[in-house]
Every structure is written in structure tokens, then in C-alpha cells.
């Protein structure tokens, strides 16, 4: 997988698959000995980054990307943050299907190919625990490009932020995307 963080680019390799009650998570390793865990393309934990997540759990998340249609879907995300021992962070995440980005430069992928993916944004808000309470987003919105035509709904591209200033772009490398 190709990873862009800030202005730098690196690659991570899939080394393991962890099975837990919360589901199957891919474990990706970098040359810098950092670890990323992804579940359905979403970062659920990291280790060795300037800012790490761990124990991220989603409650009420649809089992598939295809199940998210015209209406936004909301789920509860609970996770821990390091450094700082901020644990049990609760966020209300809203997932909605969106139009493809206006422009995107992805090595090895043509514009017709990435425009053929289904695009989703995720916006996280602090979970105030009260119905109807509105709070400002806590992280920049995440963006996912999902190939719904392929088995397993692979996430072909994503941009996700673990902190306001720690954002990564992820692009699987080596597996050719489906032709439009």
C-alpha cells in the first residue's frame, strides 16, 4: 500500500490479519517499523506514528459500503489516542455517499477508473451523548473511494486523519483496479 503523509510517500506491506470479536483487521507494516491496522479500509489503530489510535470500535456501522445509499448513516466510534492517554474518545461519525473528487492524482489509476468508484465521506463529531446536540467536527473529514464492483468492496483510495495535523492517504498498490 502506498502511503502519503504530509509531503512524504512510503509503502507498507500487509503482514498479518488479526481476528477479533470486532472483525477482521489487516495489519500493515512500514520500513520505519510503524504499524497500521485497517478494517474495511478504515484505520482502526496505529503504532509508531506521531499520533496513534488504538482500540477503535464502531457501533452501528453497516456491514458493507454498498448499504450506504442516498441517506447518510451515523455510527458511534470509540477509540483511544496516544500519546496523551486520551482513552475512550467517543465520536458520532456520519457517513454519506458523495460525488467523486473534482481532481485526483493517483499513480497507476486513470481518471475514468477512479471516477467509477463509489465515494464516501466520513465526518466525526464529539459524541455529546444527548440527542440533538450539535458539536463541531473534531477531525478533518475522511474520504474513501470504494470499488463496489469488486468482491469484498475494496477501498482503492482513502484519506483519513488521526489528528487534525496527522492525515494519511492510502492507496493499495499492486492490485489493478477494475476497468470502468
Amino acid at each position: 500500500m502506498r502511503v502519503r503523509q504530509g509531503g512524504s510517500e512510503s509503502f507498507v506491506v500487509l503482514g498479518d490479519v488479526d481476528l477479533a470479536a470486532s472483525g477482521r483487521a489487516e495489519v500493515w507494516y512500514s520500513a520505519g517499523r510503524q504499524v497500521l491496522r485497517l478494517r474495511h479500509g478504515r484505520v482502526v489503530s496505529s503504532a509508531g506514528l506521531p499520533f496513534d489510535w488504538s482500540n477503535s470500535e464502531a457501533v452501528g456501522l453497516p456491514a458493507s459500503w454498498a448499504a450506504i445509499g442516498g441517506e447518510p448513516v451515523s455510527y458511534l466510534r470509540v477509540r483511544d489516542e496516544y500519546p496523551g492517554h486520551r482513552m475512550g474518545v467517543r465520536e458520532r461519525v456520519v457517513v454519506r455517499r458523495v460525488a467523486a473528487p473534482a481532481a485526483l492524482a493517483l499513480p497507476g489509476v486513470t481518471e475514468p477508473q477512479w471516477r467509477a468508484w463509489a465515494w464516501f465521506s466520513e465526518t466525526a463529531h464529539a459524541d455529546a451523548g444527548l440527542a440533538g446536540t450539535r458539536v463541531a467536527p473534531v477531525l478533518p473529514a475522511a474520504l474513501f473511494g470504494v470499488d463496489l464492483r469488486a468482491a469484498g468492496e475494496p477501498v482503492r483510495y482513502s484519506r483519513q486523519c488521526l489528528a487534525p495535523d496527522v492525515c494519511v492517504e492510502l492507496q493499495p498498490w499492486g492490485a489493478p483496479p477494475a476497468a470502468p
Binding site: 470479536a21 504499524v35 509508531g48 496523551g84
Partner: protein, 223 residues
């Protein structure tokens, strides 16, 4: 023989022994926001480590037994070994000697509480993430027959220890600071400082009044 963990190089801040070396007293009194979830026995008992296996392997072996992710509280992982006990016992004696100095008679209950603490021989770890440990084998210690590992469930509280050795347990809140927990416990409004002992054994001093407020990490569950 040097225990295998002594060869580890930790990239984080220096580790502090289990709460004892940071017991600092002042004329204004102080409190500890402190607990050690690892001292609570895991239901069913800890899985016995196999001599020669890495900590990462032991952690991965615990996965199937955990009813749900998050039930094994990595931050509170207790790695103990008898070889560490003499040094910790000496530290405990130094702390008690400090508490017994003239002018600290009001800390007698706290000294008794410290004296009653078990010398666990806890070894501090850089991380308890199995996959990170595998990617960083110089940080992945090897167990031996005397190693004891306990992985507990995540507690839902933070415990405040007053200078009179009384305890106050407060439900954990993700963004609550030390001052918030003190405010939940009677008789602590005048405290100027607090020591936070996190479940992983790290300890830090924080100011809890407006005049000495500082950026600080919150107490974690079980702190």
C-alpha cells in the same frame, strides 16, 4: 545473568518505578491520582507465559480468550519478575524515609499505605501492542520461567489517593483532567499539585490550580 529485558532500549521517556519514586511532599499537601489495575487478578487467572517466548507472542495468544476487543487492557499490562524486586524494595525504603522526615507527621497514614504496597517487580514496557513489538524486536522482551504477565480488563474508574491515604474512586471520563477528578472528591479543593500514575506505570506531576495550570495528559482508566 542480565535479565533479557535489561537489554531493551526504550525510546520513550525514562520509566519511573511503580509510583514510589514520585511521592513528593510539600507543605501544601498533595494527592495522587493513582491506581494499578494490574494488581487485580484477571478473572480465570493469567495465561502462563512460556519460557523463551516473546511478549508479542504471549499477547497474541491472549486474543482468542478476550471476549471482545478492548477487554484486554494493554495499558495496564503487568510484567513482573522477581529480579526487579530488590531495587524496588530499596526504592520503597527511600520513599518511606522521606515521608518520615520531621514536619511530615500528617503523612503517617500515607506512609503506612505505601509500606503496605506490594513490591511487584514490575518491568515497564515501551508498548504492549503485539504487532508493533514484532516490528520492533529490540523492544519485544523474552519471558523466562519466573516472568508473570497479567492482562486485566479495562477499568471504568480513576482512583484519587489523598494524603491521609483515603481513596476516592471516580468514573473515568475521556477528557477529564486531574483537577476534574479532584473536584469530584471531598476535601481536595486546596491541593496545588497532583501526581498522575498511569496504568502503564508512567508517572507525571501536574498543577491543578489556575495559577499553575499546564497542558497535561488526562488520567487513563485505572490511573
Amino acid at each position: 545473568m542480565t535479565p533479557p529485558w535489561r537489554a531493551l532500549r526504550f525510546s520513550g521517556p525514562p520509566r519511573i518505578r511503580f509510583g514510589l519514586s514520585l511521592l513528593r511532599t510539600s507543605a501544601f499537601g498533595m494527592v495522587l491520582v493513582f491506581c494499578a489495575p494490574g494488581l487485580q487478578a484477571q478473572p480465570g487467572g493469567p495465561a502462563v507465559p512460556r519460557a523463551g517466548e516473546r511478549l508479542s507472542d504471549w499477547l497474541l495468544r491472549q486474543e482468542p480468550a478476550r471476549p471482545a476487543a478492548g477487554q484486554g487492557y494493554a495499558s495496564g499490562l503487568m510484567w513482573t519478575h522477581p529480579a526487579e524486586q530488590p531495587a524496588q524494595a530499596a526504592l520503597q525504603r527511600r520513599v518511606l524515609a522521606g515521608l518520615a522526615r520531621p514536619g511530615r507527621e500528617h503523612l503517617v497514614p500515607l506512609a503506612a499505605w505505601v509500606k503496605a504496597l506490594p513490591v511487584t517487580g514490575r518491568v515497564f514496557l515501551a508498548r504492549a501492542d503485539a504487532r508493533w513489538l514484532q516490528a520492533n524486536p529490540d523492544q519485544d522482551p523474552v519471558v523466562d520461567v519466573d516472568t508473570r504477565l497479567v492482562l486485566t480488563r479495562r477499568p471504568g474508574t480513576v482512583t484519587v489517593l489523598r494524603t491521609d491515604a483515603s481513596l476516592c474512586q471516580v468514573p473515568h471520563r475521556p477528557d477529564a483532567r486531574a483537577a476534574d477528578y479532584l473536584a469530584s472528591c471531598a476535601g481536595l479543593a486546596a491541593a496545588d499539585d497532583a501526581w498522575i500514575v498511569q496504568p502503564d506505570g508512567r508517572a507525571l506531576a501536574v498543577g491543578v490550580q489556575a495559577w499553575n495550570a499546564q497542558a497535561q495528559e488526562p488520567p487513563a482508566p485505572g490511573a
